[in-house]
Structures are given as structure tokens and as C-alpha cells.
């Protein structure tokens, strides 16, 4: 199945100019590269949440679990624990990952589950027609906050670094080639890989101008230096205009959840014997 098309015939319903297309093609190309490097296409599983991003499950011709809002990460963790031979990738939205599912994200980083989480961070709720999200700029005027948001945005990179993520990166849909490289590295990483993708939403928050002006690739940055990663992560506050670094901020090696758990199997176990043994001890 090396010549797999990787795209389904499902009709695409994203708005013209949407950053999701860029993420889809970058991910498709990264998957193709991974398959060329030897990843079994049958072992790839994509988990999505709910929101514009989530249609990726319909559009990519890989195994998929189109889940519910905020719950990509626990589903992916379960799949990976159940079968560590699978390559599990989550596509989540920013509302998905940072609002409804924040606890899961923090815990997944903490436990270093060997999954890749790609957050389509368009900084607005698209499918529910334009409300602010946890990463919308301070003062963002959305349909639920016509007078502007009254709370500053979260910084997901700083948050993931504090939570123990072993791979923290940022990409931008205005730089497709770089994005593909980041996805490849994230999928290669052993452990919890997190990629915040600054995505334009053509309809509700088209920040293309800002990204074109301020996004720059990280160069000469030591990805093993946690303090430097943290400084870089906080360079931009998701509101002010100023340099926005993209690339791999941090990379570390730590035993994964699946290694620490030492996957167990029922192979060779006879339930009746286990039951008899336990019952004998209760006599």
C-alpha cells in the first residue's frame, strides 16, 4: 500500500482560503514521508475532536476516530496503550484542546504518552460562527464578546513546557513546507509531541497579515535547553505585535507512558485459573 492516496473522496467543506487545507496537505505529506521511511500505513490512526479541524478524519484516508469536543487526547491515549504498535496522531482545535479538553492535554504531557498532538490554533471558534477561544488576543471582539474579551490568552507552549511535554513546537499555516518538517519530527519523536499550529481562519479571524509580518523560523536555538525554550515560548504573548518564532522549541527524552506501563496482555492467561486462584485465597 505504498502508493496509498491518503485522501478520501469525501466532499471537502472548508471555506476557501482556510488554513485547514495547509495543515491537511502538510500532514498528508508528512504521513507519506513517514510511510516511505517504513511506517506501516495500516498502523496510522488519526483522532480528531469537533470543530472545523475535525473534518480531517473524513478527508484523510487513514484509520480514524472522529471523537467529540475536547476529547481527542484521552481517546488517543487509550488507543496507544491498547496497541503500542499503532502510530497515533491527534488533530484538535484550540477550543477543543485548550478549553474543553485542557486537563487531558496537561495530563498527557505529564504522562508522556507516545502520541502526536497537532492543535489547529485559529484562535476563534469557526464551526460555531466566531466566538473567542483561549488563545484569542486580549480584547478580541467575537460574537459572544462584542465588547472585547476581558481575559488575556493562554500561552499553550509555555503551558505544555510546564506540564512536562517532551516535544514542543509551533508551526504556521503560512509556511507549509516548515510545517511539514515539524510534523515529521513530531511523529518521529518518542513520547508526547505537541505542535501548536497558528492557522488562519479565512472567515472569522484572518490573521494572515500578522503572521506574514512576524513569523520567523527558529535558528540556532538549543532545543535541549528548557530555560531557553521557555524564554522563546514567552517571546510572543498571543496578543501584541512582535516576533513569532516557529519551529521546535524543546525536545527531551523521557520514558513514555507505554514503556513505563509495560503493556500487559491476556495471551497465555486462562481466566478460569486466575478466578480459581483468587477465590481460593478468599476461603
Amino acid at each position: 500500500m505504498t502508493e496509498q492516496k491518503l485522501v478520501t473522496p469525501a466532499q471537502n467543506t472548508w471555506c476557501p482560503g482556510c488554513g485547514n487545507f495547509v495543515i491537511q496537505f502538510a500532514l498528508r505529506d508528512a504521513l507519506r514521508a513517514a510511510i516511505e521511511r517504513g511506517t506501516d500505513p495500516d498502523s496510522i490512526v488519526l483522532v480528531t475532536g469537533i470543530g472545523c479541524h475535525a473534518k480531517m478524519a473524513d478527508y484523510l484516508a487513514v484509520n480514524s476516530f472522529y471523537a467529540i469536543h475536547g476529547r481527542t487526547v484521552p481517546v488517543a491515549t487509550g488507543i496507544k496503550m491498547a496497541n503500542p504498535d499503532l502510530s497515533v496522531i491527534c488533530c484538535a482545535g484550540d477550543g477543543d484542546a485548550y478549553a474543553e479538553g485542557l486537563d487531558h492535554l496537561v495530563f498527557s504531557a505529564k504522562r508522556n504518552s507516545d502520541i502526536t498532538v497537532i492543535v489547529h490554533n485559529n484562535r476563534v471558534y469557526g464551526l460555531t460562527t466566531g466566538q473567542y477561544t483561549p488563545t484569542s488576543p486580549y480584547g478580541f471582539r467575537g460574537r459572544s464578546t462584542p465588547a472585547g474579551t476581558v481575559e488575556p490568552p493562554l500561552n499553550p507552549l509555555a503551558l505544555m513546557l510546564s506540564s512536562g511535554a517532551t516535544f514542543v513546537a509551533r508551526g504556521c499555516t503560512r509556511r507549509k513546507k516548515d510545517l511539514e518538517g515539524i510534523f515529521s519530527e513530531a511523529m518521529e519523536h518518542r513520547g508526547f509531541a505537541f505542535v501548536d499550529v497558528l492557522q488562519v481562519c479565512a472567515t472569522y479571524f484572518n490573521a494572515a497579515d500578522v503572521y506574514d509580518r512576524f513569523v520567523y523560523p527558529l535558528e540556532g536555538h538549543d532545543t535541549g535547553d528548557f530555560a531557553a525554550a521557555f524564554r522563546k515560548a514567552r517571546e510572543w504573548d498571543y496578543t501584541s505585535e512582535g516576533p513569532i518564532a516557529t519551529g521546535i522549541f524543546y525536545r527531551a527524552s523521557r520514558p513514555t507512558l507505554e514503556e513505563t506501563m509495560k503493556p500487559v496482555s491476556r495471551a497465555g492467561k486462562v481466566p478460569a485459573e486466575t478466578i480459581a486462584k483468587i477465590l481460593e485465597a478468599r476461603k
Binding site: 488507543i79 496497541n83 486537563d103
Partner: protein
């Protein structure tokens, strides 16, 4: 036996139960404790009888009191001939006064061994041979066996025989909690993984499976919250692993979105739902049967589900196993609805491991590009495959989807998928009809019936035999085994519904199936029916 939280009353009660079991009796233990770690009043009531029982009576023959509360709060249980065995330093009065602190000091034993002194004194007072106590201690005391035996011996020696319990020659049966029975049933059903967040009364199921994970070959995981529990379980199941989760009402609230996902995406999961009184936090360590309608209706939208409510460890074992089988065969969520009384009660259990029916194999898919996860079939059940199958796409979807698992809002496909799920529900119903889904007990040929569900069945059966009632307990509540239920009721007139909630939840369910109760007995104070109370209350409505 009573004392304060931290005195080890639960384990002491278990030892007393084991001693009686080794003397040839079938035993039942009820453990009552407030939601406190230290202090408060804890007590265990152990009942021994030649036949299996699953409820207590009000009066007791022996009191083992580690503190004054045990005597004061339970004075009403004491009658002519009751023998009271007390810690002489803590309690005023009593027949056998054991100077617990002196014994512990002289033997250099820690305070927690105080209850061994009383158990020793009890054994002597009950005329139980020392050898029986010694064997039970050897088998069941986990720490400091020598020392425990020493202090028990001191208690034994200073006591005397008051009320001899005749030794029977029956062999001891295992004594297990309802939680353990459920865990063993899940193992029997081929459990691969158990995911849970701690919550009384099912925390002990989590502990039990975690302790035995290695032997059973199961993955046991405790994640950040019940939302994660449910979604992780669905991830496990999607990848092909038989998975169960456990919780109580509050945690189940958080799981309902995942339950609906299970229903819509047709991913099997078993939920062990241990009831305790609500609403909200309610009384965390007490019992109730008030989540029946929650279990029957939880989750948005319409989808088939299995809901079973076992009443004793044997039913719990059988139906936990079957729940896993049926959930997988029909790709539906299954709920094992239990309660604190069953979960944390200890019972002599004759586990029917050999003859639990199996629901039959899972319909496996044919790998290849033509595979459709939601193939429309006659019985609504689509062949199953898991990611990793060669050349195959396995796509599951929370949205309304087509046969391949791709999102659709096409009205025709949407209707077809709703009908497919309904057909699956019918197939499940037919499978349930082939299983012993309704239990009959009490006076089986009586012309009036007690109808109950869950753990109250034991008290009902005992009262039913005394007061001439047939007892009919639907073990499966969804899909409701209507034909079996009506057959079990056949020939009865008056019908009294007994349940531990205030609204009559079973009664409402029966009404929906055209069965009208003539009277009801309800209890909702967090305590299970004792045999005496149920008998009294029943006398008021159906003399």
C-alpha cells in the same frame, strides 16, 4: 462489631465472618461507615446461617465493642441472651470485659491489634475451637500474624463459653465482596482493560483489579477524571480491547457524553455504576437504588444499551461476564448497575464460574479496502475490525455517518443508521430473552409477588419465604425482558414493589410495560432494608 474509623472494623468483621465460615456457615457482612478517615462510628454486622443470606436482621447474638458508641448506639439490637464483649477500658458494662490496652502493652502490640483481642474473646464465648481461629488468622491476617495470634489468645483465655455455636460440617466457601464478584465476572468475560477514577462504592473494584492485573493480564489505569476514563476506554475498545470502567452517579454524570459516543459510534464499553444516595454528593458511603432512570436514559439521542442490576455476588459474576460479551457482540454500551450494599458487602459466594452462559462470538470483518465499519446488515450488527488490519480503513465517527464511517447529514442515510441501531437493539433484546434475565425466589408458588431489583433481592427472598410472597427480580432492566417477567409473575395477583428510592423508579419502569403495582415499600435513608424492617413495612401494606 464496632469502633471508630481507623480501628480496622472492616477487616475485623471479615475475620469474624471467616471464622464463622470455617465453622461451616454461610456468611454475610454489612459494613457501615461515615465518610471519615478517622473517628466517627464504624460497625460491621456479620450474619451466619446454614444457607446463604444477603441481608441482616436487627437483633444480634454477640456484640464486640471497641468503644462506648458500639454499645450505646446499638442497644436496641441487644436482646435476652446477647453476649457483649467489650474493651474494658473504653466501655462501661458488658459480659466479657477485655483489658485491651493492658494486653497490648504487655505483648508490645500496636493499638490496631485491639480488635484481635476481642475476636479471641468472641471465639471462646461462641464456643469456637481455637484451631479454627488460628487457621483463619494464618490465612487472612496480612501483617503481624504471630503478634495478632498472641493477643487473640489472651482474649480467648480470659473469656469463657456463653453461647456455643454448633460447628457444621460444610466446607468454607470463598467470602468475597460484590465488587470482587464483578471484577471476577469481568475477568471471566475476557476483560483486557479497566479504567477508573476512584469513587465510592466502586473504588474497591479498581483496587481489586489493580492488585490482580498481572495475574489476569489486564491493563488497569486511573486517569485524570471520569471524562478521560470513558474516552480512554473507547480508545481501548476501538483498538480491540475489551474494556470496562467503574464509577458512581457523580462520575457517571461526567461519563454520559462518552456513553452517547459509545452508542452513536457503536463502540462497546461496560460501565460498572455503583449507586449511593444523591442528589449530588449525597451520602458517599451509604446505599441507594436511585439511579435506575439515569442509567436507562443517560446520554443524548437514541441508542440501544444493556442495563443489568445483579442482586448478589453470583448474579454479579454472571452478569458482569455477560455484559462484556453482549456489549461486544452488539457493539453497545452496557451498564452493570449495582449499589453500595452489594459492592461493599461480603458474602459467602458459590461462584458459578463453570456454567456462566456466553453470548457467542463477535462478528469479525473481512480485512481489505472494501471494509465498512458500519455496514448495514439484517440484524444491525456490523462486522468488527480494528486499526492495524492489513489494507483496511477502520473509521469510527461520533457524527451521523455512512457505512464507511464518513460524516453525512443525508436524510436517507441518517434514517438508515437510526434504523440499524434500532435493529441492533432488537437483536440484543432477543439475546436477552434467551438468558436467565429474571430471577424468581421467595415462596415460588405464592399468589402474590414482591418485585424488586438489585441488592434488595436477598432481604425480599427471606421475607417472601416468611410471609408467603413470590419474589420476582428482573436482573436485566434494558432491554426489558417483558415476556420472561410476565411469565415469572404468572398466577400472582397482588404485586408489591420494593425499592430503595423515594420515587418508585422500578415501579415507573413496570408501568411503562403495562404492569401495575398494588402497593410499594420504599426506603431512602441510605441504609439497606434489614429483614425485620422489610417484613414490618410489608405487613403494613400487604398483611
Amino acid at each position: 462489631m464496632g469502633g471508630k474509623a481507623g480501628d480496622g472494623i472492616n477487616s475485623a468483621g471479615y475475620l469474624v465472618a471467616q471464622i464463622l465460615s470455617h465453622a461451616g456457615y454461610r456468611v454475610y457482612m454489612y459494613f457501615d461507615y461515615p465518610s471519615l478517615i478517622k473517628g466517627g462510628h464504624n460497625f460491621a454486622i456479620v450474619r451466619a446461617s446454614p444457607e446463604r443470606k444477603g441481608a441482616v436482621r436487627e437483633a444480634v447474638d454477640f456484640v464486640l465493642a471497641l468503644n462506648q458508641d458500639t454499645l450505646d448506639l446499638h442497644r436496641w439490637r441487644i436482646r435476652e441472651g446477647t453476649v457483649t464483649i467489650c474493651d474494658g477500658w473504653q466501655v462501661k458494662g458488658g459480659d466479657v470485659r477485655v483489658p485491651v490496652p493492658d494486653i497490648l502493652r504487655e505483648e508490645g502490640a500496636p493499638p490496631v491489634m485491639g480488635n484481635s483481642c476481642l475476636i479471641g474473646a468472641f471465639a471462646r464465648a461462641a464456643g469456637i475451637r481455637w484451631e479454627i481461629l488460628a487457621e483463619v488468622f494464618a490465612r487472612h491476617v496480612r501483617k503481624g500474624l504471630e503478634m495478632n495470634l498472641k493477643v487473640a489468645r489472651r482474649g480467648y483465655e480470659l473469656s469463657r463459653e456463653y453461647r456455643a455455636i454448633r460447628e457444621l460440617d460444610a466446607r468454607p466457601a470463598p467470602i468475597i465482596s460484590g465488587n470482587e464478584a464483578i471484577g471476577l465476572g469481568l475477568i471471566h468475560g475476557g476483560l483486557d482493560a479497566y479504567v477508573a477514577y476512584p469513587m465510592t462504592p466502586t473504588s474497591n473494584l479498581l483496587h481489586f483489579l489493580a492488585e490482580n492485573a498481572g495475574d489476569a493480564g489486564i491493563t488497569v489505569f486511573h486517569p485524570e477524571n471520569e471524562i478521560a476514563v470513558m474516552l480512554m476506554a473507547l480508545g481501548f475498545a476501538y483498538a480491540g480491547k475489551r474494556t470496562a470502567v467503574g464509577t458512581s452517579g457523580g462520575g457517571f454524570c461526567l461519563m454520559t457524553e462518552g456513553l452517547s459516543l459509545s452508542g452513536g459510534a457503536e463502540i462497546p464499553v461496560v460501565v460498572v455504576l455503583g449507586q449511593r444516595p444523591g442528589p449530588s454528593t449525597g451520602m458517599p458511603t451509604y446505599t441507594a437504588q436511585s439511579d435506575l432512570h439515569f442509567a436507562l436514559h443517560a446520554g443524548q439521542g437514541e441508542f440501544p444499551r444493556l442495563v443489568v442490576a445483579p442482586g448478589d455476588p453470583m448474579q454479579a459474576f454472571t452478569w458482569s461476564s455477560l455484559s462484556l460479551d453482549l456489549a461486544w457482540k452488539y457493539q453497545v454500551p452496557a451498564i452493570v448497575l449495582c449499589d453500595k450494599t452489594l459492592c461493599e458487602g461480603y458474602y459467602s459466594a458459590d461462584i458459578p464460574a463453570g456454567d456462566v452462559p456466553r453470548a457467542g462470538g463477535v462478528k469479525a470483518g473481512e480485512p481489505g479496502p472494501g471494509y465498512k465499519r458500519y455496514l448495514l446488515t439484517e440484524d444491525g450488527v456490523s462486522p468488527l475490525l480494528f486499526p492495524g488490519a492489513p489494507g483496511t480503513l477502520v473509521k469510527v465517527n461520533s457524527y451521523t455517518h455512512d457505512e464507511a464511517g464518513i460524516t453525512t447529514e443525508d436524510p436517507t442515510v441518517a434514517a438508515l443508521m437510526a434504523e440499524k441501531r434500532a435493529r441492533k437493539g432488537k437483536a440484543l433484546e432477543a439475546a436477552v430473552a434467551e438468558l436467565p434475565a429474571v430471577f424468581t425466589g421467595g415462596t415460588k408458588d405464592a399468589e402474590r409477588a414482591l418485585v424488586c431489583w438489585g441488592s434488595t433481592v436477598s432481604a425480599c427472598c427471606e421475607v417472601g419465604r416468611e410471609r408467603n410472597f413470590r419474589v420476582v427480580q428482573p436482573v436485566v432492566l434494558s432491554p426489558f425482558p417483558r415476556e420472561q417477567f410476565l411469565a415469572a409473575l404468572g398466577g400472582t395477583g397482588d404485586l408489591v414493589v420494593v425499592e430503595e428510592n423515594s420515587c418508585g423508579q422500578l415501579e415507573m419502569l413496570l408501568a411503562r410495560h403495562g404492569v401495575r403495582a398494588t402497593a410499594s415499600v420504599r426506603k431512602y435513608d441510605g441504609r439497606p432494608f434489614s429483614v425485620d424492617e422489610l417484613s414490618r413495612r410489608l405487613g403494613e401494606v400487604a398483611p
